[in-house]
Symmetry: C2
Subunit: 414 residues, 2 copies
Amino acid sequence: MKASIITIGDEILIGQVLDTNSQWVANKLHALGVELVETVSISDTKQAIVNGIDHAMSIADLIIVTGGLGPTKDDVTKYTLVEYFNDELVLNPEILEDIKERFRKRGIHFSDLNKSQAMLPKKATILPNKLGTAAGMWFQENGKIVISLPGVPFEMKGLIDAEVLPRLKQIGGFPSQVYQTYVLYGVGESNAADALEVFENNLPDFIKLAYLPSPGRLRLRLTGTHQDKWLLENAIQQLGKELMLVFKEESIIEGDVSYVDVIQQYLTKNKQTLAVAESCTGGKIASDITEKSGVSQFFLGGVVAYNALLKQNILGVSKEIIEKHSVVSKEVAQEMALGVQKLTGADYAIATTGNAGPTTDDTNEEVGIVFIAIATQNQVIVERFNFGQPREKVLEQAKNKALEMLSQEILKNQ
Amino acid sequence: MKASIITIGDEILIGQVLDTNSQWVANKLHALGVELVETVSISDTKQAIVNGIDHAMSIADLIIVTGGLGPTKDDVTKYTLVEYFNDELVLNPEILEDIKERFRKRGIHFSDLNKSQAMLPKKATILPNKLGTAAGMWFQENGKIVISLPGVPFEMKGLIDAEVLPRLKQIGGFPSQVYQTYVLYGVGESNAADALEVFENNLPDFIKLAYLPSPGRLRLRLTGTHQDKWLLENAIQQLGKELMLVFKEESIIEGDVSYVDVIQQYLTKNKQTLAVAESCTGGKIASDITEKSGVSQFFLGGVVAYNALLKQNILGVSKEIIEKHSVVSKEVAQEMALGVQKLTGADYAIATTGNAGPTTDDTNEEVGIVFIAIATQNQVIVERFNFGQPREKVLEQAKNKALEMLSQEILKNQ
């Protein structure tokens, strides 16, 4: 089964909102064995929706449409679909009762506009929305399925999980789709491709190799589709082993692992701990680590020392050093790392201080300069970086570089 | 001029990677006055690319294609475009020299595969890439423009800014496109629409009103397109004033403002300061605040007290209170807020403690429970929330709710 996702909303086309719905649905379809051939974002107009569905019908059997189901005038998806399928709107008494009940519970006035949310197409299967007032709709005609869902992410996700996936599973007959990622450090895309030439030429038809370069690392992905799940999984596992043998052991890791994964794995294994002292990164490193569950095993926390006084009063950075070298300096980064290590008793510590911009306040360094310090059990390493501009890039790169430096120190000490 | 964006890459269709390029380009096109009618993500195959371009040609005059320009076998965009435009690849000596120079500088071996990056279409205008080895290509035929750019975000952005936008500006003749957002608190979508019925019916043809609901707030957006920039900007400004008068003054704010904007505005104005003490949110609140520039005017920093010992040793939460009520409790949230306020001397403090899940460790509360405390100059407010699951949602909602509670306290004290 081939699928297409259509997200409807001018907010995406004018760049006001980032479409995250498509990726979420893409993951679900991939796991189910449905081949997604296209995702499209279009405008909130009848004409754009009709064109979009016509085009999707020509390349896919399953079309998932999100957005445009609100009660307001700018939302036209439902009316367009009803016309498209020569259907008509009828009052759905159960959905009306659901909506009224939602309003009663929250003590909000129920208006005629809300009643329009219970006017639903006669021929479609109605998918009740437990998290909002816009019901989902499942149209089926000439072997094609068109599913319309609200665009609010948590409502859309609730409907996919509770209503859409169980129905698709009942249809069944999907092949297995599997991918496995390997992360390669210190090898460029073209050098990796040269090294993998023979391996790539010998891949079976149903498995593809992809290269995903990004600053500092290259991800390699083996992707396969096959009716026989066991055969596919074994083939990918076996080929993955061969692929890893092409490179030096320390330069490749199996899985789409991040630096935080590496840090978590080794510190948890060794029962060691980590604390952070963040100035310019302002909590970004701590936040990145604590996005993962289970990190309380090794992550103690730390100090966001955005203000110079906090660097002195909590982390014990000396006033003289700040005055002599300014807050953005090698010396301050070093004292911050040692300070938070002492304060928390952690085995490892990360510290950052820099000018994320756009202004440099009263420091000696230009915008983009960041000092990162890593304190281990027997030394402190400090490096100076120029991450350029703009601010978001400086913060993101400083965070990634700090986690990379720490993973390397941890791996050295294994 | 109507535009379409095509992003190429299986990594998007299998859900491995989130497409952020489209939004970035969408913003640039909107500011320029180019109407984006569709964004599409498709697979790395010749067939998909040809279909995608054929379809885009039928609805747009300008097609921006990103991705598939690497030197490896999985990248076929360049070869497909050359065939599509009946063009041929020729060696571009300047680009070859550029690439060799990049490799020399970084001390990396230059291979034949890299040389293939300098084989470029004869008829296209070549756009030099200062940040990578994949040059951009500008094809023009029968009044349609197709621009091919690398998919690596910072390379694509560099090429858009340095090469694509200046050329589009030269073509010129675009209308003005303007939008203005208003954020409404405490009013639902349907009630807002009822209140705005007359306003909406009287809008001129060239201005549209859109409703963007999300948990806890509703954004209203006026969007317009007109050849006369002055007329358009004045009309939107005037209508914005009328729109705001429909609601109570305290429930609507002009601009796509976040809670951090509100906090920054008032604390900076009043020369007051803020510190945070984060347990479950793990640095997310600090990180959100410091994403913005200029926040050092009011934001001091704070403590990420992920581990219970840090709550005691740095924030001074008493061991007895933790043992009596467990770390996830109203009492601990309150002591954390007061502790960080005292430690930093801040006027306001935020504290969070909760179970983000998936496990509850050794606390009394279930997964999803978060206590948020706000310390002001004369009191501490603590609230208990159940943000459910999964972990990411709990963390995101706890962060948003904490910033919302703080803005409300700040606004009360005005």
